[in-house]
């Protein structure tokens, strides 16, 4: 079941617009509204999505006008899956994660964003879509009872 589906074309507003969507969702859940979800799951999802959107804004190379599509799905298992498609040139996410794991020193100033995204998620992958230039980030949000953490900072 699709819980959220949005399309963005203005990178300058991408992060703020994403926050507004999640803040409204979290507020609705916190107030016992009609939208389904667990507050901690949504906060982890918001953080993970923020880190990815920030990465796109700061580092992605787009050959044409940028398009970013966000889709959040409620899985039958009760878990939440997130899919973010973009038309950037893409990059090797696994290699970037490995590089950061090996390069980070204690209390780093930069380089934690993708690791935070990884820690908030499982089954994380960034794959080329059937119609290039298009890539899709896919992940399932870590469940609320999972004690997630980064083990590389100290």
């Amino acid at each position: 079941m699709t819980a959220l589906q949005y399309r963005f074309t203005d990178l300058r507003r991408l992060v703020d617009d994403t926050h507004a969507i999640f803040d409204a969702w979290i507020e609705d859940v916190s107030e016992g509204g009609s939208v389904s979800g667990d507050a901690l799951t949504l906060l982890r999802l918001k953080l993970a999505v923020h880190e990815w959107m920030a990465n796109l804004v700061q580092h992605a190379r787009f050959a044409g006008p940028p398009v970013v599509a966000l889709q959040v799905l409620s899985l039958p298992s009760g878990e939440v899956e997130c899919r973010i498609e973009d038309n950037s040139e893409g990059f090797n996410l696994d290699a970037a994660l490995d590089a950061r794991r090996h390069a980070l020193h204690a209390l780093p100033e930069r380089g934690m964003g993708l690791l935070i995204l990884h820690a908030c998620s499982k089954d994380l992958r960034y794959v080329q879509a059937s119609l290039p230039p298009s890539h899709t980030l896919v992940f399932v949000v870590a469940a609320p009872d999972e004690d997630i953490f980064l083990d590389v900072l100290f």
Binding site: V15, H19, D23, A39, L40, L43, R44, K46, L47, H50, E51, A54, V57, Q58, L107, P108, E109, R110, G111, M112, G113, L115, I116, A119, C120, I148, F149, L150, L153, F154
Partner: protein
């Protein structure tokens, strides 16, 4: 008197201690301003300890946290501290995820932090 660096305001609350109101977000778009604000306090006021007020903060991202680490590394040689106060739920998620509660003491309110650092 308060010193402001762009969107951040630092309020001296005691000898060498200042409160920085983080506001809605500390992230990649304003982390440099936050760092400049803290460094200005260090240089012009001799501030060595910072109380970060996260009351209204909806976003603390990796860049924001990294900048706090940077300030922490700058003040610790001067026996300074960085502490968190009134930590909002979104910030608490980051603190738990990164285990930074091992580095930054947390206080329920700014006033409690002031008493501890006073």
């Amino acid at each position: 008197m308060q010193l402001a660096a762009m969107s951040f305001v630092a309020e001296p609350v005691g000898p060498g201690v200042a409160v920085v109101r983080i506001g809605k977000a500390l992230n990649f778009s304003n982390a440099a301003e936050f760092k400049a604000c803290c460094q200005q306090q260090q240089a012009e006021r001799g501030v060595h300890s910072f109380i970060l007020d996260f009351t209204d903060t909806g976003v603390l991202d990796s860049t924001g946290l990294g900048t706090i680490f940077s300030i922490y590394r700058q003040v610790t040689p001067q026996a300074g501290q960085v502490v968190f106060a009134s930590v909002s739920r979104p910030v608490q998620v980051v603190v738990q995820l990164t285990r930074t509660y091992k580095v930054f003491r947390q206080f329920a309110t700014v006033e409690e932090a002031q008493e501890a650092l006073g």
